[in-house]
Symmetry: C2
Subunit: 425 residues, 2 copies
């Protein structure tokens, strides 16, 4: 039977879940997978945390050197997060000829090329299933299930925190602040929620996923990013009335014009399969030229779901000696021949506060007409105190045209403020 | 660069799609996958079909011997179907040291153990992603994405033909016969639709999927099977009113009592993620003890979706020299230590025609009470000519109790007929 020794760096939520699965299911994996996996050591500065998991004192390493010099360790699991020590430790592990399994999307989105170069040099594996969409095997699917396809588009709810917040706003009418507070109380959002709510986390994941999907390097700098902190519950409610659900989507498209990658709040139709993906669930929708539409759905985070992804990588690393590397030139700065589209086209939901008097709608409409933006639907809703809301849903048009129109609206006396500009899929 | 030669046995819809993908994307696969795949030969008795695909005369083999003796052929793709020549050909290919990729669920469900034994003996690969749920990478997910989990349940819409028919009955109010005729016209159903509509196809797939999911051999004889040919559009309509959607589900559960595997028409709640899987789309829902819920969705059939699955297997076979074999004792008769549950529990939808006079509902209710079946919901709908429909939705109860109750109803004077008994999830 094949044997493998594992070291776990970091015993936070995910590290703890991984330790639990690997130890509790040791016999099960011997039986079902034909591999005997032993956690040889852990590295965690909070010793109490290590002890509370029942880890024997002699298995608690004192330094990364102790880990990478341990000849019984074949696979190093990095679940520390961030790009500081995590990067140093992963690099040392690879240089020492250990395969690495990581859940660290930030590290991966920022330093995949260097790490992969080290892995290739040492002929070891570099696994990152857990870095994107938790327990959902999207990386494996892109690497080993979709090879026959040119992937045309990828669309996903790839951040659970923001999906929880938006679901709460939609179903309970909470404000963004209230929903965020509740997410923090439940442990779905961090004390400093910036990485999630401003879309950084989704951007890391989208850069990894769309690189694999399109077989072209997509750096995080290529991804347009807009978070949900400015989302107003009014727009979620208006959208609902009009048949749309608001989600923070990661969108990637590979078209003749180039690659288009963006993370932003997006209205989708209520009958879109992504619209019913609620709470902290995640889902990724792919279109391949052979397979057509495919969707994967599941938990994007949590000790055991993410642990499940890590352990599937560990088992793969233990069973196989041939590894996957990117099927494209994995350059830090991207590939010279990849064009990116920044002035993409989309449909838009635009809401503005206006003074409630005759002729306003005509003026607003005329701005759209002059900017060459064709209107799909308009609503005007009167409010108190002589103000009204005008909501316009446009047909497909260029982002740059919308920006021009917004500038014009801001100069119109009758328009108090442009309150929301939300892209639609 | 790794090179691989492929032979395709059978040039029907799927064989043609596979040939198309492999030839049109030869350069793409060299670039993105680092493998150079050549279709070395095909075996197809309809020579015109081969020629219409533009296959050169010298690549059209005259016999299986010519294929398996061709030293340039590394991988044999079997897309003939059935268990006749397909079995002979696949066995010859394996014995000749070729890896085999097949889309043949019947062959696989019936002869997996012998085929795997041959493959193991020769240390070649035996791939069957395309045998279940077309382009959806469910086999790969079970083999390489879910290893960390004990899978607790699998539930799926795994036959596109029946899903198309049931969708049409639900949305257009068609009768079963009308919907079947339309499915045949569109090529979704065969001239002899038995394998699909009577649930045989789904049974083959469920036996394969639940074997992999539960790491226990599940033979087709272990699967309870009931098709959709007796489904009445009235029950779809009543169910809709009550908040349920009718689907032909393959259901597998691994509980303390044993393994439970069944294919039958099933009412699911309208907000179940499977309820919105319509037309010829397929989906599989899994629950793992670590990962929680997961769902995969996509096209279950068709030249290119199934071709996509086959080609992903071909590429895997071309890149790797370590193969997956079942993680359980792959016996033809199943494993001695696996218990199966036949008297499973479920909720039930029961409709009966009754004479429309006072006291009928009381009599019907009293039969349920005496049989110890607890009722969740009852409807009585009067019809013309002194008859009425009584619809009862039960709480969870044993199948055997329901059978007892049905026998009693059939003896009741007031019950003209028990029209439908449909399990619910």
């Amino acid at each position: 039977m094949k044997k493998a020794g594992v070291a776990i760096l970091g015993l936070g939520v995910v590290g703890g879940g991984t330790y639990q699965i690997l130890t509790e299911k040791k016999e099960y994996f011997k039986k079902t997978q034909g591999v005997d996996i032993t956690v040889e050591c852990v590295l965690e500065k909070n010793l109490d945390r290590a002890r509370s998991l029942g880890i024997e004192e002699e298995k608690i390493a004192k330094s990364i050197e102790e880990v990478v010099c341990n000849p019984n360790v074949d696979i190093v699991v990095e679940v520390i997060g961030g790009t500081g020590v995590a990067k140093t430790f992963v690099t040392k592990a690879l240089k020492s000829g250990k395969s690495v399994v990581t859940s660290n999307k930030e590290l991966f989105a920022k330093h995949w090329p260097e790490l992969e170069a080290e892995a290739k040099k040492m002929n070891v594996g570099l696994f990152f299933e857990a870095s994107c969409v938790g327990g959902v095997p999207i990386i494996r699917t892109l690497q080993e299930g979709m090879q026959a396809n040119k992937i045309l588009s990828i669309k996903g709810i790839i951040n659970g925190t923001t999906n929880y917040i938006l679901t709460k706003m939609a179903y309970e009418g909470s404000s963004y602040e209230e929903a965020l507070k509740e997410a923090q109380r439940l442990g779905y959002a961090e004390f400093d929620p910036t990485a999630d709510v401003e879309g950084f986390d989704a951007t890391y994941k989208l850069s990894i996923l769309s690189s694999l999907a399109f077989n072209k390097k997509v750096c995080i700098e290529n991804v347009y990013r807009e978070g949900i902190s400015a989302v107003n519950k009014k727009d979620i409610a208006y959208g609902k009335e009009m048949g749309y659900t608001l989600k923070l989507l990661g969108i990637g498209k590979d078209t003749e014009k180039g690659v288009e990658v963006r993370v932003h709040p997006t209205f989708i139709k209520n009958d879109d399969p992504l619209a019913s993906v609620n709470d902290s669930f995640n889902a990724v929708h792919l279109v391949g030229d052979a397979v057509g539409e495919i969707m994967l759905y599941g938990r994007g985070a949590g000790a055991l779901p993410t642990g499940s992804a890590i352990v599937s990588d560990v088992i793969f690393a233990a069973k196989h000696s041939e590894f996957f590397y990117a099927g494209f030139e994995n350059n830090k700065k991207g590939n010279k021949d990849t064009k990116f589209v920044s002035d993409f086209t989309s449909k838009y939901y635009i809401r503005m506060s206006v003074t409630d008097k005759p002729g306003v709608l005509a003026k607003v409409s005329s701005v759209f007409a002059k900017t060459n933006i064709s209107i799909f639907e308009v609503r005007q809703v009167s409010e108190n105190e002589g103000t009204a809301q005008i909501i316009v849903v446009t047909h497909e048009c260029n982002e740059s045209l919308v920006k021009k129109a917004i500038e014009k609206f801001q100069k119109l006396e009758e328009v108090t403020a442009v309150k929301a500009v939300i892209r639609m899929e």
